[in-house]
Symmetry: C2
Subunit: 557 residues, 2 copies
């Protein structure tokens, strides 16, 4: 008889590694499992037609009976956005834990998805909650949304400190600095593993305090001769607060535009995170009655989104506001990687419309929400972890963070850079990377969740680059002979000035090929389709150096 | 009888405004015309399938008989790349003027396009050349390619100083500082109009000297335990020189990879711009015989181009080089706006392959080729222009540059921010913006030049986002009745897990619509096609919330 081996702690990031987005991490020990964060990612241009990207959480669904809870570190969509999909797919009720604002923002999304029975549980910094064998202590950190939490996760094999997204701001807008005492105490008590936000690991130094932006906003708003329009992330409540304060301080009213800005400011005011007197807010329709120098417009669109309020204003397509010569526009954000061109386009249009435009790089209108190198090292120094796993970042950020850990004394062999779906196992004998579990991405496309795969995306890429050519032929099933004309229809491709001649040439080539297949006695539509596709593809390559998608359709008559 | 009015100087930028790329400017006076630069632009993701973007130079072609010459400021493709197309379209021989390296690089491109008869004329800083009524003085400036020139253009109404792309480097690699004496003399003699590079107008301060990069390269190469791979722009000969010098200084051989890097280093060595002893260059195939710590590989791919040498190495797809653990990779460039994600992807892959990666932001491995704010103001102070036109930049850069000009004393009403195709007219009574001439963009797509238009691009966008559905029906021309089955083929779209049922539903909808058109007596294929398209589009929207391109084909039997 051998003694039963104790289970190991298994930590499996299902998202958030080698990417900025869709954060989701499994913690598993024996018959208990918890999930930290359930985020989504917005697709880039290489995923045409895809609306949202979710982590593949099959692993969680298959172990749903073990799932004791889902803990959300803060209310950004890359940490909350896959919750509606996950909760619908789970056939067991699971508590979802988050701070007050986090729960408030989640509730709106769950309501939109008609998930009215979700068990949302509000937690506070300093609280302790048990979920199966796991104990959670919640620790206040700073970020670009209020009420962000780090998690001290007590497990049977030791304590894990998960930072969530964080930075350290010594003069935060809400007066709530990070809880250095709790972080340091965790370090003194022993952190077996630190999992820490890597987004800012390439930024040298300290992230500057949010209050700096307030000074710029006050100056720009008080000096502006006419209207001021400020675009920002709608969840950045502290930024919104600073805009409101600067506006009210300059004797101006605030107009809120853009769906998410309207929703989030409403929730934040209801929950006590945003403070502005009702009398200082005016409706967009009433704003026209006020002098231009008495207005500040708070807007969405800081990422250049073409349908956002700011882009519509810049293009003269907004229902109530259009940019006028002398307006001041502040883009109080920095472009998320991939959005640079879209943001630039909006800035260019605003200038052309006659606005004075202030944006990051030319004015102090934004600071990051993520810790830079010195703050990351400070976190490492306070936590003094046995093991280290950089999380939340592209591979370049994870490696840069690992280098910082090495600088403050974490041995390279104790640092684990994982891939999504890889499992870090920690037991009595130490930590090691074990197997890959089922993981990956799930695309949301219109009403479809998970149906879009690589083949569909490859087809879309080909369609997008080279267009499509549909060939229809009617074949007499008796003789294998062509019956009637060949139809050739192209879209999204060009055949030059002699396009009619090229099309005729293609038809001639098809007829030639059909004569051959007929000679060879081919009557199988599959064989004929293949021959037609090859012939047309080859012909168009010769004439146009393009490889459109060829759709051959054989009608049997 | 009235005195004949003297002609006015007309300056028309056909490209280079509100964009970084395809620079081309017309100077016209009476019966004489010259062109400064003839560039192209590389398309971004919003132009799927487009290979190159050219300025629409119809205006030039229609006045070809007046064209006295084309003056090229330097050898970058955004200043030279449309030359092969323009020279082919011009039916008169026109001299092309440029410095030695510029002409060398142009010649290679013209040879590729089999334009062997082009009249290339080499000019030198300090030279004066007359082209019709225009006189050109060539003035040395610094840039990220050797042999860049500013142009002092003497016209009947006054002197125009056109900076080309420039920066001021007090310790340039080739020892050739900008000719401050010539610039200042131009200012003293009177510059009527300054046209100045705006690319760096948002960068505060001075662009740091190129030599700084050399110090980093020497350190990284001498400390590297194994191979070093340096990716850079192949036309940045001074950067390449610094890589070669650092390699030779550390006792390493240089391997050159990537087609443009091989071509450009060859030309630069032949023309005396790049100095490295033949014995220090080894072939990629021979490099395997050398110890890893004796090799530096010079590579293309600094922009993350998926088919470049560096991307192939990172993906293990390069013929002779693949990244090994312990290799050092230096990306000695910064991403051109729009390329950030592609560059990041390559960096991430290099880290995963085990390389130590050094790139802009984390190491001093790149400096810009464009003047920052203080240099731009220095240029303005030396030129002391009567009028100012910011050129070469997006609208945001042009406006930022205009603000700098205002700071050094150019009155806002004397600053002209134009759009491509707008004409600045200067006569005895001053300068004013006059009409828009025919201008715009021409897309090169495979073998086609100018056939791709907005409709094709819109089709490609739709195909890319929502895919395509082809519907084929055979109609009995006698009765208007459906003959045989309905064929429905989709690509690039998803219909969910019940896709068969959706397809059947679509066919049923089509049959219903055809019954209606038959009842209504419709036999016109156009009418039937329209009805089928509407029905299928509506049905797919209901079932999938998607709007694929519908291609209805009616076969008459």
């Amino acid at each position: 008889m051998t003694a039963k081996k104790p289970p190991r702690l298994r930590i499996i990031p299902l998202g958030g590694l080698d990417e900025i987005g869709k954060n989701m991490t499994v913690f598993e020990y024996g018959d208990d499992m918890v999930l930290v964060d359930a985020g989504l990612m917005f697709p880039d241009v290489e995923l045409p037609g895809v609306d949202l990207v979710l982590p593949d959480y099959t692993y969680v669904l298959e172990r749903a009976h073990k799932l004791r809870g889902i803990v959300i570190t803060h209310g950004h969509e890359d940490h909350t956005g896959s919750l509606p999909y996950l909760l619908r797919d789970l056939n067991v009720p699971v508590p979802v834990l988050g701070s007050k604002l986090t729960c408030g923002l989640i509730k709106v999304k769950l309501d939109e998805h008609k998930l009215l029975k979700a068990k949302l549980r509000e937690v506070k910094p300093g609280m302790h909650v048990s979920l199966g064998v796991f104990g959670f202590d919640f620790i206040r950190v700073n970020h670009s949304i209020p009420d962000a939490l780090a998690l001290l996760i007590r497990t049977p094999v030791g304590n894990v400190l998960h930072t969530g997204d964080f930075k350290f701001d010594q003069t935060p807008i809400d007066g709530q600095a990070a809880d250095y005492a709790a972080l340091s105490k965790a370090g003194r008590d022993g952190v077996m593993l630190l999992m820490s936000d890597s987004t800012g690991a390439e930024k040298i130094g300290y992230t500057r305090p949010e209050a700096i932006v307030g000074a710029t906003l006050r100056r720009l708003i008080s000096e502006a001769p006419q209207r001021v329009i400020v675009a920002s992330f709608s969840s950045h409540i502290h930024r919104v607060q600073q805009v409101c304060d600067a506006a009210v301080g300059a004797g101006r009213k605030v107009v809120v535009t853009g769906r998410s800005m309207i929703n989030n400011t409403k929730i934040a005011r209801e929950l006590g995170y945003l403070h502005i007197d009702e009398k200082n807010i005016v409706d967009a329709y009433q704003a026209g009655d006020l002098p231009a120098d008495k207005i500040v417009i708070l807007s969405t669109g800081s990422q250049g989104e073409p349908l956002s309020a700011l882009a519509r204003m810049a293009n003269g397509e907004h229902r109530t506001v259009s940019i006028e010569r002398g307006d001041t526009v502040v883009i109080s954000a920095s472009p998320v990687p991939g959005n640079e061109k879209a943001v630039s386009r909006v800035i260019n249009r605003l200038f052309k419309a006659g606005a004075k435009v202030h944006y990051r790089g030319v004015a102090d209108v934004h600071v990051s929400g993520h810790a830079a190198t010195e703050e990351l090292k400070l976190m490492l120094q306070m936590a003094k972890p046995r093991y280290f796993m950089p999380i939340h970042g592209e591979t370049r950020h994870l490696y840069s963070h690992a280098r910082l850990a090495c600088e403050v004394g974490v041995a390279p062999q104790d640092t684990f850079i994982l891939e999504n779906g890889q499992c870090l196992e920690i037991g009595e004998k130490g930590a090691r990377i074990s197997e890959h579990v089922e993981s990956g991405v799930v695309y949301v496309d219109g009403l479809s969740v998970g149906d879009v795969g690589d083949a569909v995306l490859r087809h879309r890429q080909q369609l997008s680059n080279d267009g499509v050519a549909t060939v229809v032929i009617a074949i007499d099933t008796q003789t294998g002979k062509l019956a009637g004309d060949v139809e050739l229809v192209t879209r999204g491709m060009v055949l030059g000035s002699d396009s009619d001649e090229v099309l005729e040439g293609a038809k001639a080539r098809i007829i030639k090929v059909l004569a051959r297949t007929q000679r060879e006695g081919a009557t199988d539509p599959g064989v004929i389709q293949h021959a037609v596709r090859e012939a047309v593809s080859q012909y168009i390559w010769e004439r146009a150096r393009r490889r459109p998608m060829i759709i051959p359709i054989v009608m049997e008559v």
